[in-house]
Symmetry: C2
Subunit: 264 residues, 2 copies
């Protein structure tokens, strides 16, 4: 009880005000945690998130208030060093939220470091139920792991400990299962648009494709011309895609990959 | 009322007993239509579907009973001619269920021909709600269009008329939005397996990715390293994919395609 009380009294500074920072800080705030400050170089983002959370914001890294208990770093990976090198964290707990960066990236900034990686696709305009989002934790000490686990359990029903190497693998798999998948929704929309067919017609198919693999392994759920080796359809489709040379190349290489995969 | 009565008294023969034939014939049967017979060269499939529908089955095309009112052809595209050329349809209505085959494919088999294309991914082991599945109709006469529309409206809330050319475009877009998407779920599962991470961790992400585009256009929903031009992540991922040369190639070409698409 006492530990829980201590956990809930911690206050967080958010370094970054993008999609992930927005959803994560809101989930913390809604659970009753105190957010002390928001930083972003992009004033509009900083201002917007700060207003949502009713806290102050800064746009220069050297104005970040070092009194926060935990610093959540939710920046583009390539911006992390540039921003963090301007901040004196003392030995406060500094936590990044990236799928790809190793924990060791933070070693030069504090003795207390960690990772808090929520595996989800976030867009500012769309609400998510954080309870259902798997959160992956890593830290350099048992005590910090314990703190991060407790914080994570307050906002998510699915919390695991994972090391940097496996988290990177997780992130790569998520690029396929989410970013590339969404791009293909976009490709489909583009192809339909060329014949004035509304994207809406695909929505039940998209939903069912995702729902199927909640129950079946995707290997078993595979349908379509490539897995049936239906060359006449494949060549007719390639023919039709002449006006989209980039999509034609993708269609060809993915069909081949499916074919090779399933003929095993 | 009278027309509806006539519609409901029609009986259907199913040529094919695969995933699509199974779900479509069951939807008709559940709605009260009479299925007169099932044909498949694969005895196991024919027997299984016939048992589900409580009808007889045949495995030779020359045993198909030509007394049915409508023949639904749900075969692999490349098998259509081989099977249909063995059947005397008189001038009964012959309807195929393919996304890719043109209506004209059926011209040599009957004077009354049509297309009945439900846009969904079907697996025998998974139930679907046919009411939500968009059905696309085409025929060579206004009367046949009317019959097919009425039948389609009995089992689906979303029925449209579409010509062969646009239906092919629809099918290509569905290959991207479903078949290729599912393959990427499978790729993600494979990558996770190499580090003993269960596929389950991706399920909320997969679901949210599909739910997002029910409301937002996929172009707006795009997230991830490729759209952020985050080269350090992309090269780290490519490095990690060395043990999966095929997936590495896909990762590379799709990231490039996303990059080109969004930099416009």
């Amino acid at each position: 009880m006492n530990l829980n009380f201590k956990i809930m009294s911690l206050n967080f500074c958010f370094i970054g005000a993008g999609n992930l920072a927005t959803h994560l800080s809101k989930a913390f705030k809604n659970r009753g945690f105190e957010i002390s400050q928001v930083y972003s170089r992009t004033e509009l983002s900083a201002k917007e998130l700060a207003a949502t959370l009713s806290v102050n914001y800064v746009t220069s890294a050297d104005e970040i208030d070092s009194n926060a208990d935990i610093f959540f770093v939710a920046l583009k990976d390539s911006a992390v060093d540039e921003v963090l090198s301007q901040i004196n964290f003392g030995n406060k707990l500094v936590v990044h939220c990236s799928g790809s960066l190793p924990l060791s990236k933070l070693e030069k900034y504090s003795e207390n470091i960690g990772v808090f990686y929520p595996l989800q696709t976030f867009s500012k305009s769309r609400d998510v139920n954080f309870k259902e989002i798997p959160v992956f934790i890593e830290s350099n000490s048992a005590k910090n792991v314990e703190v991060l686990l407790q914080i994570a359990h307050e906002i998510s029903d699915s919390v695991s400990i994972i090391d940097s190497d496996r988290r990177k693998t997780l992130h790569i798999s998520a690029v396929f299962a989410c970013n590339f998948v969404n791009y293909f929704y976009s490709v489909a929309a583009d192809i339909l648009k060329s014949k004035d067919i509304p994207f809406d017609v695909l929505k039940p198919l998209i939903r069912e494709t995702a729902e199927k693999v909640q129950e079946m392994h995707p290997e078993k759920a595979q349908t379509g011309p490539a897995v049936r080796f239906d060359e006449s359809i494949i060549s007719a489709h390639l023919n039709e895609l002449n006006e989209f040379p980039d999509y034609l190349k993708l269609y060809n290489s993915i069909s081949k990959s499916i074919f090779e995969h399933y003929k095993k």
